[in-house]
Amino acid sequence: MKRRSHFFLYSIVLFPVVLAFYFAARYSFGFLNIPSIQQGGQHWKAVLQDGSFWASLGFSAGVAIASVGMAVLLGAIFAFISYRGRSNEKLAFVWYSAMIFPPVVAAWLGFQWLGQSGWISRFLFQWGLIQGPADFPAWVLGNSPWALILIHGCLITPFFTLYFFDLYRSLQLNELLQMSQNFGMSVAQFFRYGGLQLLGRKTLPLMGLYTILIMGSYEIPLIVGGVYPKMLSVYIVDKLQKFDLANIPQAYVVTVIYFLVAATIILIVTRWVRQFKMQRL
């Protein structure tokens, strides 16, 4: 009875995912019922030998890690600046209301503000700092990752700020800091000899999850991103819908690879969650 009810709980969630994975894996070997597409493992070989695939994988990972790093850093600092133990609901509300921007809107706002003819560029022009839109760096629709990192980072910074507020309270950071100062440590020394480990251990699982979330981000690179390298989701969609029918199995190959990578990272992260839960603090 007990086993079976477990099974029910899991299977209802896993069923569509497993089915989807099965179809994707099948199609990645060319079983598509399209006569011109050969069946077999050559699509895997083609993807793995393709430099643009590795470029987009590395690019996605780089953007994800950089933007999560930015968000964690900013969130920790913002929370540290305004954290003083007492409660004020209105402050928290502003941070909560910063989380209502979905990726599509964030991409559009990034387009509007960071573009070469965007608001920032216009302000700089009015102040006489640049001579025209060409002087503004081509972050949006260019091949540099800065716009992507900035937009993703800003998108998740409010979440990490709220998380760190909570974390500081539950770790009683103020009291710990007070105590370490009583023993003659500076703030920097406190963070160097223990504070960072303490915070990092609690934050690392969340950082892992957000890294995968951003690696698979779609709307923002679609609207803001450049031509090469692409982020993984856009790469998959391009292989699927553009240029060449014979590339369709390759799209599914990348899908399967991403599936496996994400599943591995989630597995590691859930292990961390458990390990860190067992250690005290």
């Binding site: 009810s5 477990h6 029910f8 709980l9 899991y10 209802i12 969630v13 896993l14 569509p16 995912v17 089915l19 989807a20 179809f23 994707a24 199609y27 600046i81 305004s82 954290y83 003083r84 409660s87 004020n88 928290a92 509300f93 502003v94 941070w95 909560y96 209301s97 989380m99 209502i100 921007f101 979905p102 990726p103 599509v104 809107v105 559009w108 706002l109 509007q112 503000w113 216009r122 009015q126 839109p133 709220l162 507020f165 309270r169 999850l209 995968i212 698979g216 779609y218 709307e219 609207i223 998959i236 699927l240 599914y252 899908t255 991403y258 599936f259 994400a262 599943a263 989630i266 859930t270």
Partner: protein, 256 residues
């Protein structure tokens, strides 16, 4: 004073972003160096009145999101109720429930598309709602973790000992314990569905237009006005729901 610094600057930033959206939604003649529009254009009011494009995509977005929120919350509740006595192993449960939520929506959509094409659902509301439920159901189940603990199990056991019927257990024990988190889970799943783009694009096959999709097409057509309108239409209900959510839960639980 210092603790207000970040918050005040953040609220200024949010207001600036919103103002920028409003200006580009209502202004005409925003060519390059100008910061302020030549004239204002309020023709959108008549468009909303005459049930234009934006109105219909707003309606379909709303209908999809409501269906997804209610279906996934109630079915998560039902699933937890059915497997009431099971105590899932923590790590396996986390892994399985994070999987659909964290795998990129595009990846899930691309893979589900084949399935729905075979079922003949592609391009219908059913496909979009089912696809979004694949993401929101595990999320709702995880969110309801707070209800279904050991303490509830023992209270239910006690009720059984005192001879309550199963309806009475549901009404007098489980419902009061679950009510708050059920509202929270409805709001959250509504927002996930409201903000979703990839699943709508792939499973809707261009036949279903939601707000996020019409924002994207407006950007593709470089129709800045329409895009800003769509963005405002996406943000405002989200803001209202966040207000409600905050009023109900956060104010009591966590505050800065």
């Amino acid at each position: 004073m210092r603790r207000y610094l970040t918050t005040v600057s953040l609220s200024l930033m949010l207001l600036t972003l919103f103002l920028g959206l409003c200006v580009s939604a209502l202004g005409l003649g925003l060519s390059y160096p100008s910061l302020w529009p030549r004239e204002w254009d309020f023709s959108f009011l008549s468009e909303i009145g005459s049930r234009g494009q934006l109105f219909s995509s707003f309606a379909s977005s709303l209908w999809i999101a409501c269906a997804v929120a209610i279906a996934s919350t109630t079915s998560a509740f039902a699933v937890r109720l059915i497997s009431f006595y099971s105590q899932p192993e923590q790590r396996l449960q986390l892994f399985i429930f994070y999987l659909p939520y964290l795998i990129a929506p595009v990846v899930l959509a691309v893979a589900l598309q084949i399935l729905f094409l075979r079922l003949g659902w592609a391009g219908t509301y059913t496909a979009i709602i089912m696809g979004q439920i694949c993401i929101t159901l595990p999320y709702a189940i995880i969110l309801q973790d707070g209800i279904w603990g050991q303490s509830l199990r023992s209270i239910v056991q006690m009720g059984l000992n005192f001879g309550l019927s199963s309806f009475q257990i549901l009404r007098c024990i489980i419902w009061p314990a679950a009510r708050g988190l059920l509202i929270l889970s409805t709001i959250q799943t509504f927002l996930i569905s409201w903000f979703d783009f990839a699943l709508v694009q792939f499973l809707g096959m261009g036949r279903v237009r939601t707000l996020t999709l019409s924002l994207y097409t407006a950007v593709l057509e470089s129709d800045l006005q329409q895009a800003s309108f769509a963005a405002i239409a996406i943000i405002l209900p989200g803001f209202l729901l966040m207000l409600l959510f905050y009023r109900i839960f956060i104010q009591k639980a966590t505050s800065i």
